[in-house]
Each structure stands twice: as structure tokens, then as C-alpha cells.
Subunit: 230 residues, 2 copies
């Protein structure tokens, strides 16, 4: 052995396409995965949980943790968790922060992952965030993850060393689709829609980004949609 | 008005002596307080919640939020939340991290405070953490709070500016007692014991630190203890 690194990793699996690819990449790099799913009172939480389970089964991930942070709905401020706020419809040209932004969601999620990582001795946290094509959420930017990694290492035991890995950070949705197909990532098991749980709505901004990714990659989304999207 | 600053602040109130003083200091500085209490499946959560309510009533804080992060008990790793691990007894000379350390607890707590601050437009988060006399938890050090503040501001909207204020960071428990008495902070309403909910045990490390603070300040703790502590 030339080098010995800690190959135990936590991977955040929301159930979306990005997190499925992220798990596939981490698996392909030989990490021993532990899967963390966060439920934060979002509209489609049951459907996302099913996608999480399906993806874990696909990758034979045994160690799983589902954490409920429904206080984010009590805090409100996002159309994802706050029922009276309308989910924003697709406006891919807009550069403003959409109503589906859940304030500092990734800070909350990474804090949970850090607590778990410190207890089980995982040295890596994989998160499938994307900066460029991510709807403009401030907590999806590479700068944030670097800054948070510093905070993590200054707030845990001296012997704890945790790296936050964002393999998708500079990918576009088009590249996510292409790379997922190349790596046989089970996109048919993933779920992206923010609005419905049976068939995807095809109208919310998450569906919009997903569909555009497939379209630009020249591929067909295996999911069913409520309206004809082709 | 020479300067106009955002005077809305979130104050973390666990119910302990330090958080009571922290609320008193923030109130004394003219901040408009919103109180955040975190329940993380600790043994004494009902008693701590009562202390939180009593302190909020004392300072006439109307806006209150209680967040349940019981996933920390699922994660385990601490005697505070993990019932099979024995709560460490007082060893004030030890420099190692005690069994009551909840991994990255302050990272989790500050993430919740940040989400709430961004939604309600609070520019300050007060937390009564103490570095020198704090049992040696890594997420109680000033370096951690500075680092976390940077992460907060890189992970929230551009117009959001949040300062993390730690007015007790360099105080000892002796000074907490002295300052609390000077500012008429209601220490009789606070609760520190990690182990029991009726009378304080006087044996866990939190009781130990509290009692030593009173002793060194030459004052008497108004709380009742199970064993004779004077």
C-alpha cells in the first residue's frame, strides 16, 4: 500500500438525479458508502424517500440514515416547505433566487452529515450540488462548500478530518444526464419533481431543469410526466 | 441617527446559566430578541424546555421557536443522547473531550439559527458558548465560530449579513455567575444538570462546572441539589 486513506464516505441522497449520479461516482471511486437522506417537510417527501431507498438498493448501500428536519417547514420562507407560497414555475433565464430556495438548507444538511461522519469515522462527505445550473441557490456554490469544510474541521475533534466532495459542482444538467448514462446510474429510479408524487408535473423548476438536461443531451427521460413533454 | 444597524437578533436559549446570561447581555444591548431552543433528544429535554420558557417570559421575548433535532440521538456517539453511554462524572482537571460531547452540535444549532435568521431578517445570532471553561468541546472555540460565520455568509443570499456573537466566549464560569448577578439574570430559572429533571444531580460535569462557578464567585446556587453541595 502506497497510501492509506479513509475510504468510508457519507453520500447525501435526496433521490434526485444529481444525488444518484453522485452516489454512482463515489461508488466507482471505491468508497464504502453510507447514505444520508434528509426529509425537511417538503411537499414530495414520501416520493423522494422511495427514490432514496431504490437508489440505495441499486448500489447495495446498507448503512442508511434518514433525518427529519421538519423545523425547516416551521421556519418557512420557501415554497417547497411553506404551503401558501406558490412553487415557482420554470424560468430558466431568470438569475434571481427562486421561491423554492430553502434558506441555508445545505448548511443544515452538511451539519447532520458531519455529526454522523464524526461518529462513524467517515472521512468524506459526497454531495451532488451543482453551482452553474443549480437555480442560483447561494448554498450550492463551490465557495460555500470550501468555507463550510473549514468550519467543519475547526468544529470537530482534532483527529477528525472531513473532506466535502462535490463531484458535480461544475457540471450542467446536460452533463449530468450524459455522465449518468455512461456510468449506468439508475435515473429511472430517481425523482426530481417538487410538486407531485405520482407522475412528475413537468412544470416546476426542478422538472424544468431535468427536462432541459435530457433535451440538450438528446436523450429521453425514463420518468412519466403529467403532460406530454416531447 | 448616526448609524442604523439591524437590531433584530436570534438568541440561543438552551435553558442553562450561560444562555440566560447571553440573553441578558443581548437584551441589555438593545437587541430585539427572538429565542431559539433546540431539543436533541437529550435526557433532560423537558426540564430544559421549561427553563427556556421561564427565561423567555422573564425577558418578555415573544417570538420563540423550538426545533427538534432528535436525529442527533439516532446518530448517537454522546452520553447526553445515547442512553447506553454513561454520563461522565466531574473531572475538571481532565483536558480530554468528555463523553457528553455531541458531535458538531453547535454546527447543527447555528445552521438552524441561520435559516431562521435569513427568513425573519435577523442580523445577529447570540450564542452563550464558552471556550476556556467549556469542557473542551471543539465546537465551542472562538476559531470555530469565526469560521462558521464565514460559511454562513457565503451560503446565504447576497443581501443577508449575519454576525455570530459569542459574548461569553472568554468568560469563566466564575465570571458568568458574577456577571449574571450584576445584570440580574434569573439564574434561579436556569437549568444545567445533564442527568436529572427534578433536583439537579450535582455529579455530572455540567453540574460540576456550575457549582464550581458559584463556589469561586463566593455565591450560593439558588437551585436545589440531590446531595448537600455546600
Amino acid at each position: 500500500m502506497i497510501k492509506s486513506i479513509n475510504k468510508k464516505a457519507i453520500v447525501l441522497i435526496s433521490g434526485g438525479m444529481d444525488s444518484a449520479l453522485c452516489a454512482g461516482i463515489a461508488k466507482g471511486e471505491g468508497f464504502k458508502l453510507c447514505a444520508l437522506h434528509i426529509s425537511y417537510g417538503q411537499r414530495t417527501s414520501a416520493r423522494e424517500k422511495k427514490a432514496f431507498t431504490d437508489i440505495c438498493n441499486f448500489y447495495r448501500i446498507e448503512k442508511r440514515l434518514c433525518a427529519d428536519i421538519k423545523y425547516l417547514s416551521d421556519i418557512g420562507g420557501s415554497s417547497l416547505t411553506d404551503m401558501p407560497i406558490k412553487v415557482s414555475e420554470v424560468n430558466l433565464e431568470s438569475h434571481s433566487i427562486p421561491s423554492t430556495y430553502v434558506p441555508f438548507r445545505n448548511g443544515n444538511i452538511l451539519s447532520i452529515a458531519t455529526s454522523w461522519a464524526e461518529v462513524i469515522g467517515a472521512g468524506h462527505i459526497f454531495i451532488g450540488a451543482m453551482e452553474e445550473d443549480s437555480s442560483g441557490y447561494p448554498d450550492c456554490r463551490e465557495e460555500f462548500f470550501k468555507s463550510f469544510e473549514q468550519a467543519v474541521n475547526s468544529g470537530t475533534k482534532p483527529q477528525t478530518k472531513i473532506k466535502i466532495i462535490t463531484p458535480l459542482i461544475h457540471l450542467t444538467k446536460k452533463e449530468v444526464v450524459e455522465k449518468s448514462l455512461r456510468l449506468n446510474v439508475p435515473l429511472h429510479l430517481s425523482w426530481s419533481c417538487y410538486q407531485s408524487e405520482d407522475k412528475a408535473c413537468g412544470e416546476c423548476d426542478s422538472c424544468g431543469l431535468r427536462l432541459r438536461g435530457f433535451e440538450m443531451a438528446g436523450e429521453r427521460d425514463p420518468l412519466e410526466y403529467k403532460r406530454n413533454i416531447n
